[in-house]
Subunit: 152 residues, 2 copies
DNA sequence: TTAGATGCAAATAGTTTGCATTTGT
DNA sequence: ACAAATGCAAACTATTTGCATCTAA
């Protein structure tokens, strides 16, 4: 029952001694295709759209496992209710998220090496990675905002 | 029915045109005393211990208000279920999270203004905030790691 | 073959809402 | 005095659990 080619992360999953089940591979695939920014609710919907026989519990269990394996990480940034899961690529991770349309814009440079270094010295920690997210409005949503008004 | 001296943040609350109610002042006080790292559930308990007549709804409403006023911010700690609220000292938010013991170490400087500015120009976006998390081992956990091995 | 994973449905957390009442200014 | 905020309890949403069944290795 071969899925398609296994992603890097799927291999990590297997190497850590867990079974490569249909449910897990599907959940992982959905996360990867999504660009790596999903709430659990969005994930549930998308997984369900792909294969409606996969149960909610398995999605949550996968999310939990992936978190423990550092494949994914929950962040709370603008929904105060549902955590957003972000894919953790290898070294660092940074992008801009449009708070209006949720579009994700990647960028390469983050220039944090210097800061990382300084923090290691000053705080006496050993750092292995980081997550940097900027929040704001993308070009399109800035234009649409001229129509104004959706304050609370 | 004067509470004790008003904190800096309580003043901000008032200045923003909201009433200084008993419930709000109590919630704020509990957060400030706690060192500024609480889940909503912990907050509910502590508020209840101080004054059991304050209802859950008011606690959540305060949390919501404080978040909108940037007095507090929901963030990831290690429960994947309940957001943790941290006090926001100034404008932005950044910290180091120990991947072993989940300890959170705050730091002030992030030097991202320059980058933020550059991205706004280059990507044609309008940025309003950011989250910066470093992951690594705190001093204690580096030492304990000599004893190695506590995989799952 | 068999331990580990699953799907289901019911149980549990966590959060929000409507509304009559109270309170800060 | 009166708009804003509250407390309550019920509604809702999100997540977890127990267990019989299934499946990857």
């Amino acid at each position: 029952m071969a899925h398609q080619a296994l992603s890097q992360r799927a291999l990590r999953l297997r190497d850590s001694g867990h079974k490569l089940t249909h449910a897990r591979l599907t959940v992982l695939d959905v996360i990867e295709r999504s660009g790596g920014h999903l709430t659990s609710t969005e994930l549930l919907e998308k997984v369900n759209a792909v294969d409606s026989t996969i149960g909610r519990a398995s999605v949550f269990r996968s999310l939990d496992l992936f978190t423990r394996l550092s494949i994914v990480r929950p962040t709370y940034i603008d929904s105060s209710v549902t955590p957003t899961y972000v894919l953790l690529p290898d070294g660092h991770h940074h992008h801009v998220i449009c708070t209006s349309c949720s579009r994700v814009i990647e960028f390469d440079e983050c220039g944090l090496q210097a800061l990382e270094h300084e923090l290691e010295q000053r705080l006496n920690v050993r750092l292995t990675g980081h997550l940097l997210e900027f929040y704001g409005l993308c070009a399109d949503c800035q234009n649409n905002t001229q129509r104004d008004n959706d304050e609370d």
